[in-house]
Amino acid sequence: MIQDPPPSYDDRRTPMSPQLVRRVAILGTFALTMFAIIFFRLWFIQILSGQKYIAQAKVNRVRDIAIPAPRGEIMDRSGNLLVDSKRAIAVQVTPAELPAPLQATTDTEEAHLVAHPPRPDVALYRRLARVLGMRGRARPCPINANATLRRALAAQGARVVDGAASVQLSPIGCALAQGFVQVSYANVTLATDVPRTVLFYLEERQRQFPGVSVQPVWLRTYPLREVAAQLFGTVGPISRSELKDPRYKGLPQNAIVGQSGLEWFYNRYLQGHNGKQQVQVNALGQPAGAAGRTIQPTAGNNLRLSLDVNLQRTGEQALAQAVSQVPDPNGGAFVAMNPVNGEIYAMGSDPSFDPNIFTHPITQREYDAKFGPTSDFPLLNRAIQTAGPTGSTFKPITATAALQSGAWTTSDVFDDTGQYCFSGQCRHNANMAAYGVVDLEQAIKVSSDDFFYNLGVLTNDPAARGGALQKWARLYGIGQATGIDVGGEVAGNLPDAAWRNHVNHLEYQCDHALGPFRGKAKHTPGGCGIADGTDRPWSAGDNENLAVGQGDVQVTPLQLAVAYSAIANGGNIVRPHLGLDIQQADGTLVQPIKPPSVRHLPINPLYLDTIRQGLRAAASQPGGTSFAVMGNFPEQVYGKTGTAQYTGQPDYSWYTCFVPSTATSKPIEVVVTVARAGFGAQSAAPVARQILSQWFFGKKGPFLGYGGAGAL
């Protein structure tokens, strides 16, 4: 009867109120609009801007990790390794990534962070100290702060004494505070060369040690320890000002660069090029997934020095022995170089130190004990960084000036009565000696002071720049840096009228608290110690002093070596240099180092001959000042002793000698000075003899010091 048709439910819907229909329509329209907006937006982001976001995703996940390049090696002339690079692991902290980041924009903020390290950071330091074995009580930590930061630190309760600020901090807190104050964005190295167990412990617990990273680094090592320690200089993180220096153009912010010595001078060769590895990192910065492109680092080139390591070692030992015999020593120095081309065969300074100590972070306390004001300054390279009067070793320079200016001739004679008086002031030879009638050659041989006082008077000129003596001393390079390739050289001083006026003026200003001394305390005349306070002008007496290498003249051992080289080689002022050539790691020559002579002195060869005769006689004939030491030496030694007088100290012993290229195939020039050791022949000359002996015969022979003849 009733056959149901297939149900068509739409027809059977409950009738809806028109109101509901309207509201459903509104809901439907709303939903449709929303879907439209979402589709449009999705299309815009995914289809239209896709490329942009793909690039951003790449920036997100790809990091360049620098692979540090080793610095080049430094070796001696026969390839003996002097400075090497060793791969090590360093534990570093990035101040900006600590749990409470160390970031400051003002000195006040910086001082607050330094004086009161944030609590989460302190907790981290404590954990880290346990791992690295750096636990320790809070100690006064010296902060190297400028004036404004010091004031801010003082306001935060830091101790500020004599312009030095210190804060009570744990060892790690101290290291970070010091690093943060120095270069706030750079990593601070807490420990180098850490054991592998520590390395694994830290790497597995990266989340517990935020901001702490374990980095591969290259460390400098010095296999020969104390040998030539002062020459190499140090390497360290590049500083703010160095980053702007064109010398370091293109280096990354955390680069390690040479800071002093040869490392500084030859940095552009020694510095390698860091490689980089592209790694994929996740959102936590942890490496994840396949590594990308890798660019291998390029090691720096090797530097070969002209140094002869055996000669260097012999020189240092001989010098140390000489110094050890001085009752109240103040070190000494020696230079051995080729007088023809300026190659330095050896250059030493006593006392020395083991530069390996700087491979590990060193505490301020340790540093102060070893190298601070109470130490005997082993970091000082006394061959180029100390200057003083040279005593009679200066006399050949005076002789050149007198001969060249015509004030004296090779045949002129002088009657040395043992006393020389000029304008009411009388001087005499050492030991009251009287040498009778002497010509210039003999005067050099016996080192007659009276003879050279006379030359000093004869060549005196009160003109601002002085007379012939100053002119020739200047030409020999006295009072100027030699330009040696290690940097840090002092210039010394060559006194003349202008210099005397200058120091008198400074003394006057200081005494009266004027000019640059405004606001400082006043002094009695001469109380500042710049000049003697008598305000006297340049006098012939000053020139007499200079003529025998005493008084105000300040010469470094290397300057004297350069001056004597000119005498040895016929008048060429050489540029002394330690670098011999630059080589690639496989020994391929990159660049030879052959600096040309600085200048040629137009000295009459006859005069040079006369002076050389004097020097030869001094070392080889009975009566010569160093005959006792050098008389039986088988090579042709030309030598001159010197005894520099210091007020309130024993005399400084000097000796300089050379064996010229006319006499040997391996010419050499040696200068030795031993502080407070008395006559030149007593201490310095025996050291020089051992150096010569090593150079010519490969063995140093006995030390002949302190028994030899006393002479000036």
Binding site: M1, I2, D4, P7, Y9, D11, R12, R13, T14, M16, S17, Q19, L20, V21, R23, V24, L27, G28, F30, A31, M34, F35, I37, I38, F39, R41, L42, W43, I45, Q46, I47, S49, G50, Q51, K52, Y53, I54, Q56, A57, N60, R61, Q280, V281, N282, A283, L284, A288, G289
Partner: protein, 399 residues
């Protein structure tokens, strides 16, 4: 009406029996949309949870199990006449309040007290609260069917919806609180509250929103600073995110993930934003970004289409409900789904504020999946009941 005669009606009775088999009367499109979304979710989660412990298989299996459980619940619900739930309105409302209060006593997870730990499930009270609220408040509305135009009714409903919203706020769960408010409003809208009253409510909401957002500058703090930041960052995103501005960071990473997906996606292996954890919460709040990065515009559009289908079916079912209770339940469910879809996807796309609202059936999470399937089951029940009512009506008319 034919009631007693036996023989001639036998075939009719057979037909009636066939019609009363509710499984056959389910809305196939609604079921298709729900199951399609579950499939997409499983595929996306497989990629999105690679960076998470204990690994994708764990998440995909659990999500599948939740979906299976949810499907079962939905099928059972579709067999039940939803109208009978109206009697339990006090129980349902009370249960919702109790559940949402109980969680405040639990120990916090990631700084939030939202979950009751059960053996198989972190039971999220506020999620279940959504469906309980719809059923309870819908019942109250249906009871007052003849007094809908009264202010009293409207205000009472508003209070009933606001109370749970205020309870979940301190969990903290701003997203769910907003869902409650929107659901409450939609219930009134669908039930037929007069326009004037709706407009007044909307005005109050707008003023309230203005106070909340402009509050801090006037010294009134309703929201926590991070909530405030989440709500406003998308309006004015900074060119470079600050170091602690997580909202800005998350938004950026989401856009990068979506954008780098381009047309066809970077594939399961190349989706670095998701794989390397740059994308935050890639399996829950930002699952749509993970989908967009991995499967591109095509994948995202497919899922959006499934949502559109879901919404369309919900609207359709709303219209065929046999009674007002069914209409308002469907309206509430519609509001819940639309709000979550638009707010979640909008957040991912940078056109909506960052609120922690899960994407229905796509986001990983048992509570959300179960609640969404319960909602689907209720819609099916309304559909079945509506069809049965109309067919019996038409049959009655014919006979």
């Amino acid at each position: 009406m034919v009631t007693t005669t036996a023989t001639p009606l036998r075939p009719v009775e057979q037909k009636t029996a066939a019609h009363s088999r509710p499984l056959l009367m389910l809305d196939p499109l609604l079921l298709l949309a729900a199951l399609g979304l579950v499939a997409c979710s499983l595929v996306t989660l497989h990629v999105a949870t690679r960076g998470q412990v204990p690994g994708p298989s764990y998440y995909v299996e659990r999500q599948a199990l939740y979906a299976a459980g949810g499907l079962l619940l939905a099928l059972i619900l579709s067999l039940v006449d939803y109208s009978r739930l109206r009697e339990y309105k006090y129980v349902l409302y009370g249960l919702m309040i109790v559940l949402n209060v109980v969680v405040l006593g639990t120990s916090p997870i990631n700084g939030a007290r939202r979950w009751i730990p059960l053996p198989f499930l972190q039971f999220q009270s506020s999620e279940f609260g959504k469906i309980l609220l719809i059923l309870a408040v819908g019942a109250f509305l249906a009871d007052r069917a003849r007094r809908l135009h009264q202010w009293r009714t409207t205000l009472r409903i508003v209070l009933l919806a606001l109370l749970p919203a205020l309870i979940v706020m301190p969990q903290p769960d701003l997203g769910t609180a907003l869902v409650y408010v929107v659901v409450g409003f939609t219930l009134l809208f669908v039930a037929g509250t007069p326009w004037k009253q709706l407009a007044a409510l909307a005005a109050v909401v707008l003023v309230g929103a203005a106070v909340v957002l402009a509050g801090p500058s006037l010294g009134v703090h309703v929201l926590k600073p991070y909530q405030q930041q989440r709500l406003t960052t998308f309006l004015n995103p900074p060119p470079v995110c600050g170091p602690r501005d997580t909202t800005c960071y998350q938004l950026n990473q989401s856009l990068i993930a979506l954008g780098s997906g381009e047309k066809t996606g970077r594939g399961a292996v190349g989706a670095t934003q998701t794989e390397l954890s740059y994308l935050p919460a890639p399996s829950t709040d930002f699952v749509f970004a993970a989908l967009g990065e991995t499967y591109g515009f095509i994948g995202a559009a497919l899922v959006l289409s499934l949502y559109a289908l879901l919404i369309w079916r919900a609207l359709r079912i709303l219209m065929m409900a046999k009674n007002l209770y069914g209409t308002v339940i469907a309206g509430g469910i519609l509001a819940m789904l639309m709000f979550q879809i638009f707010v979640n996807v909008g957040m991912t796309l940078g056109i909506m504020p960052t609120t922690g609202v899960p994407l229905p059936l796509m986001s990983y999470g048992g509570s959300s999946v179960l609640v969404t399937f319960i909602a689907v089951g209720l819609l099916q029940s309304i559909y079945v009941q509506g069809r049965q009512a109309s067919s019996s009506k038409s049959r009655a008319l014919i006979s």
